[in-house]
Symmetry: C3
Subunit: 341 residues, 3 copies
């Protein structure tokens, strides 16, 4: 058996999962329910895909106990199949970490400190007084400005920019194109012209945060912009200056948060959500896709805005009526009053 | 006549166009109807600009037969004036392709293969086992990770990142800042903390696709994220992991597609459209600007959501009524029932 | 007194501000009302933060005359406290400008001209015929293509791309990841396939413009894409080809403008606003957050679209009614007609 093959029984024991069926089945890879074949393990977590279970040609499936009866193949039973599958899938990740050391092409300020156990890729520049801790990976083309801190085991995949005064905790992962610590959008209008307000704060990112490709997080005007621990941001997100995001909050692609807003812990912000500046959102709030949040939210729960998709011509007629909705409501109220008199 | 001058008669013959007026007129450049002068060719395709035709000072205009009667100058008549103009305009593009060869500063893994007819710019890094085909251009500052394939005559303009397992067909063009193959946003929640789900798939881009500046396309969790041939993505678009986009579909700026969604062939997705995850959109669907698509679409046609722009104070009143629209409708139904009794 | 310490009296005189309280108080830094301590100056401009004034532990506060009576500490009185504070804060900005000169790693075309008083960072490439004026800063990893002009005292912070034919005025600031001059999204459909329309124009950026991180501005198809002087764009904005934006207009994060649209002077475009192509917006227009602008606007004023955030279940009921709003309005009109007969 090659090093990357595991019997079902071994996987069940290693990850503390239930086993149904032949524990001797050998797993050499992972795949989806729809595409897995012999030697591959699939998983069922999202009920949307339940109908694919009966037809699967996987050698085995990770699933909840309640779904095991419907599986045509051997099963690993987990309370949280997605988490169990994530652990097993990691065994099959072909990725090799880069070796420690500094690439010959990197340009590093004499006052910067790079731990010898860190890996600095080609075409990386590191500014004055910045420090890179052990185990950190700074990939090709990253620009690290002055006064930045990169904690233990962080990974900046490639082409990440930390402009200045950006402090990362440990195990922070940042995907390509992300820009942290750019000037906040601070302007004063004077005599008909814009005047730039200096942005003197920094950015503080907690342990275990993940920041997506081409996401931007501006540095604070005076205080820092803050992500608490285990905040997860997808791609193309914009976080304005002096925003604070609570621990374990996750935000999907294309969301944006304007300056000085505070978002609580354990929130789920769906894709393309826009959040106004200078407001507060409490813990445990779910904002559904493409909603706009103009005012503070002080009750946990699920929130939405917008209208549903329709065929374009019906939509046009409805939108035309929406422009007069207040009149329409007044008319109705008058009519209701008249009819009861 | 310089090499970049062509008579109308030559252009008509070369591109199989009708000619009205003096075929000896010399064209040395192209410009808009509004700004073109002597020696310049303009075009009329969008009816919005018809009123500029009568006033044009161009030497000649490319247009449809039905518009030729209104032209004050010589014409080239085309069934598809935009396509005809595109071909003619290409004659006047001053751009010179870079010479083949690898810039001295590039850092290329020994296991990568670069065709000698490819052009690799300054500060490019190329990872293990990646291959670059003949005629491909990899511009300044691009980062190509491990196990990528760049097909014949592809162009990565500059500062493009292919993270890993990204396979481009032939003639794919990618604009600066685009990131393909970053980790999909795959997370499992366990014991109150996020856990990363390994992203083991890749990205497969078909022939003749174009991908805009700062657009992001994540790699799949298990299977690939796929763009079929001739898909055209504008700037700042986000494509989640395991999305599949059908051939000839075009998507305008700032659109976003969440994970595992399938979009059909020949669709037109306008700017700032948000598309939910795990849904299917059939072929030949048009989604109008800034719409949100939450559910699958199984009928070709045009779709929209949202409300129309209004002066802010009227809008506020209407929005306040929208918050009670269901009550309002119930009240109306009651009233209607009462009035018919 | 260190060089970065100033008495209130000195600040009042230098910036022509009123002084209330002890002019001998020494200011060594700036901070927010909520966090400032001894030796620090805070400011009050946004009325939202008025309640923090009474509790401030700052040594002094910059504010309007009308607020001075409520300050528990010494004050600098200004007609425009934000502008006054911006000037004072600049005294405390720790940033050091890079020294003039060209980094050894930069790759510069022989036909490019770089003023000896400009600063060119590591891993910068500069194309044919481009010129960089005195005082300009081109930070690490920037890619400057062919035929670009960078004016006096411009700053390209890092990893900025000017693709080709991009002309910057003086004192233009561009943040990391921005891409100017990429191909506009110009396509013609012919025989069921997309055909690229050459993009022969450029980008012209006026004096004193600021362009945010990961913002994209495409070059024109024939004419230029234009930002007049003192236009301020936040992060992640998309500006399509041939757009023109008037002087002093500011646009917040994640906004997008489709091709060939003209926006007037002194407009304020809030975050996540989407603006259609081929329309005109007059001077002095304010568009509120997340609105969609489909048609031209010819009257100054404030505009909005969209609906307000609600709890998800109430929203679902209202949205279902919106899909039949036109029917509902017809029913009401019929009822009203019947009741008056």
């Amino acid at each position: 058996m090659t090093i990357n093959a595991h019997t079902l029984a071994q996987l069940a024991e290693r990850f503390d999962l239930g086993l149904r069926g032949d524990g001797g089945i050998v797993i050499e890879g992972v795949a989806t329910l729809a595409s897995a074949g012999v030697g591959q393990l699939a998983f069922l977590a999202n009920p949307r895909y339940r109908n694919e279970l009966a037809r699967t040609t996987a050698s085995a499936v990770v699933l909840r106990a309640e779904d095991a009866g419907n599986a045509p193949v051997a099963c690993l039973v987990a309370a949280n199949p997605q988490a169990a599958f994530a652990r097993i899938a990691a065994l099959f990740d072909p990725r090799k970490l880069p070796a420690p050391g500094i690439h010959a092409s990197a340009v590093i300020d004499p006052s910067a400190q790079v731990d010898p156990r860190a890996s600095i890729g080609p075409f990386v520049s590191i500014g004055a007084r910045s420090t890179i801790a052990a185990g950190a990976i700074v990939g090709a083309g990253c620009v690290i400005g002055d006064d930045c801190v990169i904690g233990t085991d962080c990974e900046l995949v490639a082409r990440v920019t930390l402009v200045c005064r950006v402090r990362l905790g440990n195990r922070v992962m940042i995907h390509p194109g992300a820009v942290l610590g750019a000037d906040g959008f601070g302007l004063a209008m004077e005599a008909g012209r814009w005047m730039k307000v200096p942005q003197l704060g920094g950015v503080a990112i907690g342990d275990d945060c993940e920041i997506g490709a081409n996401t931007t997080i501006d540095r604070g005007a005076l205080d820092d912009t803050v992500l608490e621990e285990d905040v997860r941001l997808d791609n193309q997100i914009q976080i304005g200056h002096n925003v604070r995001i609570g621990a374990h909050t996750a935000m999907a692609g294309c969301a944006g948060v304007a300056g000085s807003t505070k978002i609580g812990r354990n929130c789920l912000i769906a894709g393309a959500v826009g959040i106004n500046g200078h407001i507060e959102i409490c813990d445990n709030v779910v904002i559904h896709a493409a909603s706009t949040v103009l005012n503070s939210i002080d009750q946990p729960g699920e929130y939405s805005s917008g209208t549903a998709l329709q065929d374009h011509h019906t939509w046009r007629r409805n939108v035309a009526r929406f422009k007069h909705l207040d009149e329409l409501a007044r008319k109705l109220n008058t009519l209701a009053k008249d009819s009861t008199q």
